[in-house]
């Protein structure tokens, strides 16, 4: 199913023995054997069980909250409300390493006066058993007086709209102005304008939020928790009023993240009750808690106005974006920035005006989700490319070919990405791989679509991102890596192991990676933003190569050759040109040990540090680098029922350099599923802010019955800024999928559904509108 193409502008800088191979991941045996403990599998003696009491309306004033009956219930150890807490907010920001925070991003820990979204926590309960906690939940009496709310971001900007965030609900506003847009439109032969809508999306990791907290002998609050970000120990400490070194996060292998475990989830509730009760406390969200308890993907309304010449040259682009930020700020300003920067896609647009706003409503707050705003932009710009092609009567692949941004050219912010831009060859490969078209039959129409993308990897450069890793060689030649990175299922830890053993001349079964402990593993930053391999991979490589250099130098003396002549692999150290002159790695390590040669190293990798983009023009560097690629699909649409089946799904990505090809394929195939659900079936329905689809029987992810086998074409330009020229694949895997499907559906039925998800109902409605019947109940 997979082809790997290495068309390298430069040859690999080492002869790989471990990197680039589809090795069985270090975490795989434990997972398939049921031996891997997740955060929810830890228990402690004398442990209490927690539940969160939530508001059942989206906008209200808290008139009265009475927990006395819950407190009186036998077996209840503690019931906590805002009245029991100091009036302190939790920062929802990600300050990065610069230590600065945005203003006004705080969220109340528990509702004090005002309920701003459905499910906002009112009280916390800890009890001897889960049954008692469940019972106590029902005994809490909350009197909520409804306040008019606002549930649409466009309405929330109108004069007189209910105010969720002072003064005007606008939580962020960003702009790009580049070139001369008026002149560009004047030059255009045709101007195409369309508005696209993208929906909320639920991360739907299979492991609901869960954690266990206790206070140890040093008065440190320990929290074993499922999270993408162990460095939340700082905002947790700030929120509960203790020094930063008095909170310790111990992660575990995470049962899925996708951005949904990037913000704080259960940590503060656990910390508060562990301190209050002096006992270990455990909190596991129910699936319904999870649906209402963490931020969703931002819905966007995106209006694209494109000026184009008859021969397919884009002369101007004007983009207006409105994102629904929900009831709290969280990462909205950053998500908006990603969307802004991504607005033109992987195309050269010299005359560009982008205006993006994130607006507060009483909907569920929105925050990080795989693709992080750039995905929503892609959903719009790739559909717009097909509409532009249609408007000028040009083949859609040809329109793209004529406008692709090329290596060395400036992107939307004027920044020139340092790596290769291979969108063209990815798109050609994916499109060609669709092969012979499936024939249409009866009411079944066949259509094809493509999505091309630009997606950053690595965090915003003004956050001054760093990552640390420690690598050491034991006396028996085995390798230890210590790094705070969290593994959210993509094989982050195993990839670090592969990099370490590549440098140290051994094999993957000879390394143990200790990760995800904020107190004892060097801090590596977040597993978000497609940064783990780029940042921590580079840090591990730096550390391992420093150790390697010292080992090699000693071996060179033993062999009487220059260090450059020494190589290591498969537990042997040898003269590169004379492999018969060798010694076992363990022997070399023993010599180094006896002579006090340092066999370990702590390294820090620093991303480029920049200032913020120019606030007026949006020009400057936003990210370290970008990934490029394409996804192509063929769909079958039943025009009677509106049902869509994805027949073929092909991805072609330039990943720079594969560390583990099997893991890369896994990311791509999972991204295809995540994007397919987003395009077709995953729908969060809210009524006045109240979620009415809080289960997997109502919120429909693609199942084994819905997914085609996803074909992966992996290209390796070896030009990225990650280890060995790697880029990143976590977010890119998903970004182009939904617009490819939308374009295929439009190709199949000749009419576009401008709002996702493209449900059977919307398809049938669009067909009725086109056929002029207007009425849904009229005979077809």
């Amino acid at each position: 199913m997979t082809g790997i193409t290495s068309e390298a502008p430069s040859r690999p800088n080492v002869r790989f023995r471990q990197v680039g191979r589809p090795l069985t991941r270090t975490d795989a045996p434990g997972k398939v054997a049921g031996r891997t403990p997740y955060a929810g599998d830890y228990v402690m003696p004398d442990m209490l069980h927690m539940r969160v009491v939530r508001a059942d309306v989206a906008s209200a004033r808290l008139v009265r909250l009475d927990v006395s009956r819950a407190r009186a219930l036998q077996g209840v150890a503690c019931a906590l409300t805002a009245a029991d807490l100091p009036d302190r907010a939790v920062s929802t920001d990600i300050p990065g390493q610069v230590g600065r925070k945005r203003l006004d991003t705080g969220q109340q820990i528990l509702v004090r006066e005002r309920v701003r979204y459905f499910g906002e926590p009112l009280a916390l309960i800890a009890a001897e058993t889960r049954d008692v906690a469940d019972h106590a939940l029902e005994l809490v009496e909350a009197e909520l007086e409804p306040i008019p709310g606002v549930y649409d971001p466009v309405e929330a900007m109108q004069p007189g709209a209910p105010i969720v965030t002072e003064p005007d609900n606008i939580v962020a506003e960003r702009r790009i102005r580049k070139g001369d847009v008026e002149a560009g439109f004047a030059e255009a032969d045709v101007i195409v304008e369309n508005t696209f809508r993208t929906p909320f999306q639920e991360h739907a990791f299979l492991e609901p939020e869960v954690g266990l907290a206790w206070v140890d002998e040093n008065d440190v609050v320990n929290i074993r928790v499922s999270t993408q970000v162990i460095e939340h120990f700082r905002p947790i400490a700030d929120a509960i009023g203790v020094p930063h070194n008095k909170v310790r996060i111990r992660g575990a292998l995470v049962g899925g993240g996708f951005g949904g475990k990037e913000d704080l989830t259960v940590e503060i509730y656990l910390a508060l009750l562990a301190r209050r009760t002096g006992r270990p406390v455990r909190l596991e969200y129910t699936r319904e808690d999870s649906f209402v308890g963490h931020g969703k993907r931002h819905p966007f309304v995106l209006t694209y106005r494109t000026g184009v010449t008859r021969d397919g040259r884009i002369t101007a682009l004007d983009v207006r974006m409105v994102a629904d930020s929900g009831a709290y700020v969280f990462l909205s300003p950053y998500v908006l920035l990603y969307a802004l920067v991504a607005a033109p896609g992987p195309y050269r647009v010299d005359n560009l005006d982008v205006f993006a706003r994130a607006v507060a409503t009483n909907n569920m707050f929105t925050s990080a989700f795989r693709g992080f705003g750039a995905l929503q932009a892609c959903a719009a710009y790739e559909q717009q490319m097909d509409e532009v092609a249609k408007a000028i009567g040009l083949d859609r692949m040809e329109l793209r070919r004529r406008n692709f941004l090329k290596t060395g050219e400036p992107m939307s912010t004027g920044f020139v990405p340092p790596s290769a831009i291979w969108t063209d060859r990815c798109a050609e490969r994916a499109w060609a791989a669709l092969g012979e078209p499936t024939p249409a039959r009866g009411p079944i129409r066949i259509g094809r679509g493509i999505g091309c993308y630009q997606q950053s990897y690595g965090r915003l450069t003004f956050l001054h991102d760093t990552s640390e890793a420690w690598v050491g060689v034991e006396m028996d030649g085995t390798v230890v890596v210590r790094s705070g990175v969290t593994d959210i299922g993509a094989g982050q830890v195993s990839a670090l192991g592969q990099i370490a053993v590549e440098a140290l001349g051994t094999t993957l079964d000879n390394v143990v990676v200790y990760n995800s402990d904020s107190a004892v593993t060097p801090l590596a930053g977040t597993t978000t933003a497609t940064r783990a391999l780029y940042m921590t991979g580079n840090a591990v490589k730096q550390a391992a190569e420093a150790v390697r250099a010292r080992l090699v130098e000693r071996a060179a003396r033993a062999f009487g050759v220059a260090p450059d002549d020494v190589d290591m692999g498969f537990n042997e150290v040898f003269v590169a040109e004379r492999p018969d002159r060798s010694m076992p790695l363990v022997e070399l390590v023993r010599i180094c040990g006896a002579e006090g040669i340092h066999r370990s190293e702590l390294a820090m990798f620093r991303a480029p540090f920049t200032d913020f983009l120019d606030p007026e023009t949006g020009q400057g560097q936003a990210h370290p680098d970008y990934a490029y690629g394409a996804h192509a699909v063929e769909v079958a649409v039943d025009v009677d029922t509106g049902e869509v089946e994805v027949l073929k799904s092909v991805a072609a990505h330039d990943v720079g350099q594969c560390i583990n090809p099997a893991a890369v394929e896994g990311q791509i195939q999972g991204g295809a599923q995540n994007g397919q659900g987003y395009a077709l079936s995953e729908e969060m329905l809210y009524e006045e802010g109240r979620l009415i689809t809080p289960s997997f029987s109502e919120y429909l992810m693609p199942t084994a019955m819905d997914m085609p086998k996803v074909e992966c074409i992996i290209l390796e330009s070896r030009s990225g800024v990650g280890p060995y020229g790697a880029k990143g694949i976590g977010e890119p895997a998903m970004t182009p999928v939904a617009p490819a499907i939308a374009n295929a559906v439009a190709d199949a039925i000749g009419v576009r559904v401008f709002e996702m998800p493209i449900t059977p109902e919307r398809i049938v409605r669009a067909l009725k509108r086109r056929d002029g019947t207007g009425r849904l109940d009229s005979p077809a």
Partner: protein
């Protein structure tokens, strides 16, 4: 509570006792007696993460009451094989890269075992239908399908003495 009863559950070939109320699900009961390999994803029978074999049939343990499983032969993912001797299904999942975050895998491995028990030479439809009650958010199922086919082939080869 008064409606509690001590029952004996036969799990992975061993008899284990626990005292549970009538409403305790098999999922909760198994975890209470230490079978943390059985995962809770929804408690509503939507996701399949909690699947175990009960007398050879894959069932959602969150929809099964513990009392009703008394006397039955219960098999969790740990009953199939261990780290030192993985079951062919487990081996195929590990080597084929079919486990990512792995949280759904204890249930999916059980479902795969049930598919292969029923269809030693499963068709693609057999595999898809057999896995339709198990949600996975990481893999897109492609490698899961491949792993099930691979495991079935290995088991067939083993049976025919090859």
């Amino acid at each position: 509570m008064s409606n509690e009863r001590t029952i004996t559950l036969r799990v992975n070939g061993r008899e284990e006792r626990g005292r549970f109320p009538a409403h305790r699900t098999l999922l909760e009961a198994l975890r209470e007696i230490g079978h943390m390999e059985v995962k809770c994803g929804c408690e509503k029978g939507d996701c399949g993460a909690c699947a175990v074999l009960v007398d050879g049939m894959a069932v959602d343990s969150c929809l099964t009451l513990a009392w009703t499983a008394e006397g039955a032969e219960i098999t969790t993912v740990r009953g199939l094989g261990d780290l030192e001797s993985l079951h062919p299904v487990q081996q195929a999942f590990a080597d084929g890269g079919a486990a990512q975050c792995g949280y759904c895998i204890p249930g999916i491995v059980i479902a795969a075992k049930a598919i292969i028990d029923e269809h030693p030479e499963p068709t693609e439809d057999d595999v898809r239908l057999g896995l339709s009650g198990n949600l996975c958010r990481c893999t897109g199922y492609t490698k899961v399908f491949e792993a099930v086919s691979e495991a079935a082939a290995v088991i067939r080869a083993g049976r025919s003495g090859q």
